[in-house]
């Protein structure tokens, strides 16, 4: 079985085949290794390299952003998509990438407090667009690009889930 795995903007083609009881041949971008894989709980995997004995523990969980998985390893966690399921994880400013039509997306569940623009407004990149409150903090979400406000899909007071499109910039 072949998977496209994307982490941190880099995509890998990974092929998995069964090579024995709990043992799998795994080929990453053409390099093959044999791994002993044991399930640990619902989300955990203990991986042992059959050749070197190197041990890794990874946890694969759904995240609060639809379509995204979180891989946890040694105290850090990275977002991941399998077979190009569109992740809508926003960038550091609550933005996506900077080309074409872009959405300002709620990065966490919360409540819309203020909308700082009106439909049709010209906006600059990183201009504040909407303020979402969660956990006693107001978070200003900014425009991913310079452009024009095409659509506002929420009103102040709306409760939003993570991943919800709030404003579309074109």
């Amino acid at each position: 079985m072949t998977f496209e795995i994307e982490i941190g903007g880099r995509s890998r083609t990974i092929t998995v085949e069964k090579a024995g009881a709990g043992v799998f041949g795994v080929t990453v971008d053409g390099r093959r290794c044999e791994l002993d894989a044991a399930r640990v709980g619902i989300y955990g995997l203990s991986l042992l390299d059959r050749e070197s004995g190197a041990s890794r523990e990874v946890q694969v969980t759904p995240s609060s952003v639809p379509g995204e998985l979180l891989i946890t390893l040694d105290g850090r966690a990275v977002a991941c998509t399998v077979n190009g399921r569109r992740s809508r994880r926003p960038g550091p400013d609550g933005s996506g990438s900077a080309h074409g039509e872009q959405a300002v997306i709620a990065p966490m569940p919360g409540r819309v407090v203020r909308i700082l623009v009106a439909a049709g407004d010209e906006v600059a990149v990183r201009q504040g667009i909407v303020v979402v409150e969660a956990m006693k903090m107001e978070n200003e979400l900014r425009s991913p690009k310079a452009g024009r406000v095409k659509e506002i899909t929420v009103v102040p007071g709306t409760s939003v889930e993570a991943g919800r499109v709030l404003v579309v910039i074109e």
Partner: protein
């Protein structure tokens, strides 16, 4: 005695633990979204006090007093936050015949006012940050303000009397900037607090935040403890605390502790409290404010003194005399560090990351203490502060404590939501942190220039993560396929096996 814990989260769990150890029954209170919270499950009794927003539950004095009445609780522990520093609440408990586990409402309201507390410190002979004695009149002429500023010396701070959270506060480096700074500080303070009065204070460059924990009993004894160093702050919020401070030698420790105790004694303070100081590079220290409650960071003091502060709070409230050797309270044994684990995404500017906790493996092992308020299956709500746990590491030396903290952070798994664990793992490797060469401005300066992710993996780790995702998808696909082919058989087999087990 039966104690109602008027709080939630890790601090409610912490207080309930003390109650259990002392064999005192405890009563939890909870809002709608906290029905399945850990503090509810660990208390002996629990009372629902309203909808999820704190203003309709954890901040409702009458509902909490009523919960105490209904359950026959005769004492209330407020924890920190919510009503902990609300003198009206302390007074309402007293009026209802409940023992409030904390200071008197009178000392709470006295020390809760920044200006009154500053005056109390001055009366007790404790230095405060140099500043002008009274705020400027609204129509004070520019040259009067310029003279006052010149007497104080630059750089200085223009501060709103009613200020807080950095609002109505301006740094002024040179005389020509003064009029503009006063004007903006006034209009900001007027808009934010409805009071545009401002005053001037000398700006201490690169100060450390040092605080002294105190316990006072109802018989006039006040015991100060070894200092806590809380200079690692993000936007004026403490994120890492430790004890002792590398900047405080025993002689300085004795002087700061004596100053703190003098302030507390002068206002007849009892129960737990903390006095915060700014420590200048030259070793001078200045009274900042007093917190009239248990602090979030109290565990670091407990770890280096082996004393249980919450148990002592309860014993003091029962009228017991403090029986703590003052030398022991002032002499740290080893070193302790605390990291506040927040449900926040450090890669998104520390944006809150509430949600379902799908898996949890707290760190444990030598020298590690985990004060947590959450469990697997709990949804971190959007309504409250985002701190979910405090991880504390103790070592015989500071280096050992740092090594244990790193090990514990890598061990700690919180699955399903983002947390600040990766940020702490990064911080515990920063050369300035390791050297102890930091002040209250350090972390904000460091973060301002940082663009990289805190979750960076090296090439081999990233391969392992990708392989894990692929194997997970593979195994789930095979399980699903097996379910389709042999699902009925396997279910039947399971049922039979269970029946067998029950018969056996």
């Amino acid at each position: 005695m039966k104690i109602l814990v008027a709080n939630r989260g890790e601090i409610a769990v912490r207080i309930i633990r003390a109650c259990r150890e002392m064999e005192i029954p405890s009563v939890a209170v909870y809002s709608d979204c906290d029905r399945d919270a850990r503090h509810v499950r660990e208390a002996n009794q629990a009372v629902h006090i309203g909808p999820s927003p704190a203003s309709e539950s954890y901040l409702r004095i009458e509902r909490i007093i009523d919960a105490a009445r209904r359950t026959g609780a005769d004492a209330v522990h407020p924890g920190y936050g919510f009503l902990a520093e609300n003198a009206r609440f302390a007074a309402a408990c007293r009026d209802a015949g409940l023992t409030f586990i904390g200071p008197s409402p009178e000392s709470m309201s006295l020390m809760g006012s920044k200006t009154a507390a500053r005056e109390a410190a001055i009366r007790a002979g404790v230095p405060v940050v140099p500043g002008i004695d009274s705020p400027f009149a609204g129509d004070a002429p520019d040259d009067e303000m310029a003279r006052a500023a010149a007497d104080l010396g630059y750089p200085l701070l223009v501060k709103a009397v009613a200020g807080g959270g950095g609002k109505g506060m301006r740094t002024v480096e040179k005389p020509s900037d003064l009029p503009g700074a006063i004007q903006t500080a006034r209009s900001e303070a007027g808009a934010a607090f409805g009071d545009s009065a401002v005053y001037l204070e000398r700006r201490i460059l690169q100060p450390r935040h040092i605080e002294i924990q105190l316990l006072g009993d109802h018989h006039g004894t006040v015991v100060p403890f070894v200092e806590r160093e809380c200079s690692i702050q993000r936007r004026h919020q403490k994120v890492v605390e430790e004890s002792p401070s590398l900047a405080v030698r025993p002689e300085l420790r004795r002087r700061i502790a004596a100053a703190a105790a003098a302030v507390a004694r002068s206002v007849g303070y009892y129960n737990a409290g903390t006095i915060e100081f700014l420590l200048d590079e030259d070793g001078s220290f200045y009274f900042l404010e007093m917190n009239t409650r248990l602090q979030v960071e109290h565990p670091v003091t407990e770890m280096v003194t082996s004393l249980d502060l919450v148990q002592w709070q309860i014993r003091i409230a029962r009228g017991e005399r403090l029986q703590i050797d003052p030398d022991r309270a002032l002499t740290p044994y080893g070193h302790a560090i605390e990291c506040r684990i927040y449900a926040e995404d450090p890669d998104l500017g520390f944006m809150p990351s509430p949600g379902l906790i799908r898996g949890l493996r707290p760190a444990s092992g030598p020298g590690i203490r985990d004060d947590s308020g959450v469990g697997v299956g709990y949804t971190v709500p959007v309504f409250y502060d985002s701190m979910i746990a405090k991880l504390v590491a103790w070592g015989s030396s500071r280096d050992e404590a740092i090594a244990r903290m790193r090990r514990a952070l890598a061990e700690y798994q919180v699955l399903g939501i983002r947390t600040t664990i990766p940020f702490f793992l990064w911080l515990m490797h920063q050369p300035e942190y390791i050297a102890g060469a930091y002040d209250t401005t350090y972390l904000d300066r460091l973060l301002a220039s940082r663009r990289e992710s805190f979750n960076e993996l090296d090439a081999s780790e990233e391969d392992a993560a990708a392989i894990g995702a692929a194997l997970d998808a593979y195994l789930r696909a095979s399980t699903a396929a097996a379910g389709q082919n042999g699902g009925a058989t396997s279910l039947l087999w399971k049922r039979n096996a269970r029946a067998e087990a029950l018969r056996g």
